[in-house]
Amino acid sequence: MSAEETDKALVARARKGDRRAFDLLVLKYQHRVQRLIARYIRDPEQVFDLAQETFIKAYRALGRFRGDSAFYTWIYRIAVNTAKNQLAFDARGGYTVSLNSGGSDESDEPMIEPEALRDGGTPDALAATDELRKGIDQAISALPEDLRTALTLREMEGLSYEEIATVMDCPIGTVRSRIFRAREAIEQSIGPLKGD
């Protein structure tokens, strides 16, 4: 069963009322959807709200998902339309709170950390975020070379397992294992920082 077929199977279960199946779809695509919306909307709070809206719309429209296209293209389309609708609303004078309004709209600065913003940007929250960032950096640096390369090619370059296997001249199964082990090692490293 391919990834696309897995998604369709989850959609089919969600349509029958299995909320856990829809939960898995949310977990898989929530970060991608938020990143996609963030390309249109700069306000992280609004991005979060629009991501919610995207999945609510998708859930209500699951009955209309015929499977002609992949689920991710369908949900991406909903996300883009939701973001564009918000932009159009804003352009008509709709009132929105832009926490990034102080900066230039054309800048490519990364979004402000939502956690820090929600907590009022307190020194403690900012310090915790900074500590988490450093912890991840250290964990990545401590990875064996083959694990770090596999993970970096995946996350930084967006290569598929097959492409990474070609680059690293190893079987796809090995790539899969290396990426998994790299994540496990980092997770164990940052666990205490996250309070897990």
């Binding site: 898995l24 979060f48 950390e113 956690e115 990545i140 970096t152 940052i190």
Partner: protein, 229 residues
């Protein structure tokens, strides 16, 4: 290749990692296990996203989107919950609905046509009653005068079209379409064998077409040479 086992934690976590990367293949057991441990998958993918965000230099998205979505979904009315019953009609279904509608129209048309046909065929009145297959039209005053004389009708004092028309019923302009006994009396004399009959309206009507050289001056001669004698 070792097949994933649902009860193998390491294998399951590796399957989650691959699934999150869109690289899972043929792992139904792993999906079933993930469905049974959504919270565990949630925690694991949060970590994966933190790592990915840091590698890419992006901001952290650590808010509980799934929890917020589920809170809103719980408030959705029942009729907005997706289910097989709420599936919007597929094109096939719409096509079937259209076929039913077209069938009903076709059946109604067929019934209407059949009813009209039966009514006409079972009517006591002979066919052609009230119907004038060939109407004498465009008659000149001279035509009407000729018709009046040939039909043994009283010659109007003035052979004006108005006078002729007033003396004739509308049916007199029709060519008899039935040879039934009821209509035998309406047939021209030459058709029934009676000698006292007048001119055939067909001849009178069409003589110009049949023999235009006679013009308006020779209808009697035209009628006389039409073979009735």
């Amino acid at each position: 290749m070792r097949q994933p086992q649902a009860n193998d934690p390491d294998t399951l976590r590796e399957a989650v990692s691959a699934w999150w990367d869109d690289e899972s293949h043929g792992e139904r057991n792993a999906i079933e296990s993930m469905l049974d441990d959504v919270d565990g998958v949630d925690a694991r993918t949060r970590h994966y996203d933190l790592i990915a965000s840091r590698i890419r230099g992006e901001s952290f998205q650590t808010r509980d989107l799934l929890g917020a979505i589920n809170a809103r979904l719980d408030d959705l009315p029942g009729d907005e919950q997706p289910s097989a019953d709420n599936v919007v009609a597929l094109p096939v279904r719409r096509w079937r609905r259209g076929r039913v509608w077209q069938g009903a129209v076709a059946a109604s048309l067929f019934a209407a046509v059949t009813a009209v046909g039966l009514t006409l065929s079972t009517s006591d009145e002979p066919a052609g009653t009230g119907i004038a297959p060939m109407q004498v039209q465009g008659l000149t005053a001279n035509d009407r005068a000729v018709m009046a004389s040939l039909n043994d009708e009283a010659m109007p004092e003035e052979a004006s079209p108005a006078a002729v028309l007033a003396a004739q019923s509308p049916l007199s302009h029709a060519v008899p379409a039935s040879s039934s006994a009821a209509h035998a009396q309406q047939l021209p004399d030459w058709a029934t064998g009676r000698r006292s009959g007048g001119a055939d309206p067909y001849v009178v009507t069409h003589y110009r077409t049949a023999a235009p050289e006679f013009g308006t001056t020779g209808p009697e001669a035209r009628a006389a040479t039409f073979g009735r004698d």
